[in-house]
Symmetry: C2
Subunit: 121 residues, 2 copies
DNA sequence: TTAATATTTCTAGTATTGTCGAACTGATTA
DNA sequence: TAATCAGTTCGACAATACTAGAAATATTAA
């Protein structure tokens, strides 16, 4: 288990809440488009191997060279929701989507839900 | 085109925002589980044919017999986000998920995003 | 027409969220 | 070690969102 607090139990409401902000959705889509590979630990933790830095993300999303506290805040929200992972690489933090989250969300909408709940309709 | 203001242009951020509230997600999941059939107009509008009433939903979600303004508020949010549709049936309003929204969301997570954005990583 | 039922809208209060600038931390370079 | 670079955290403020109760609307029943 890693030292840093990781959200291993994926909460679908938290994910939707995180994706419900336009800035965060842009960050998420940027990271998805990057499609950087990740390492999966025995513990289940996911770590990025390569990927854009916080600065790259900030530049892409805001056009700003300097990393803003706002971007940092949104990255934290995405991380706590289990949607992305980050890891220090020298002076930088490199970022990546959490593929497990994508799988979970794809399943959530892809599968036909169980029909026939007797207490409805 | 229907008289009531309908959101025909589906906005993915608005959908995530709507699903990011636990009460709304419960309502949405209940409606999905009901799996009630809908009618699709030439205009593209989707109308429920059968489905639970607002009272049914309120009862299921809050355990409360009386419909609360809070449930009404959340239903409106889901409706404005394009996730559900509602129609009057006598004294009641009957509700249903918008299948187009489910398809859109399934595609959003199901498809592999276009990789190779040169300005990333 | 009046009453009752089902639901929405309005208003106000509280809580949560996003933004900004300043201060702080960790890692590298001089 | 000092300076710099890359990001994060903190504190304050504005904006937004959720909740609750009261009043309003639409439909049906008496």
């Amino acid at each position: 288990m890693s030292i840093t607090l990781q959200m291993n139990q994926l909460d679908i409401t938290a994910m939707f809440k995180a994706l419900g902000d336009p800035t965060r959705l842009r960050i998420f889509e940027f990271l998805r488009a990057c499609g950087a590979p990740v390492a999966v630990e025995e513990s289940g933790d996911v770590r990025p191997l390569v990927g854009p830095t916080v600065g790259d993300i900030c530049c892409h999303v805001t056009g700003n060279e300097r990393v803003t506290s706002s971007i940092s805040f949104h990255l934290k929200e995405l991380r706590l929701a289990g949607l992305i992972t980050m890891e220090r690489r020298g002076k930088n933090m490199i970022c990546s989507v959490n593929p497990e989250a994508i799988v979970l969300l794809a399943q959530y909408f892809g599968t036909t839900p169980s029909v026939g709940n007797s207490d409805c309709c």
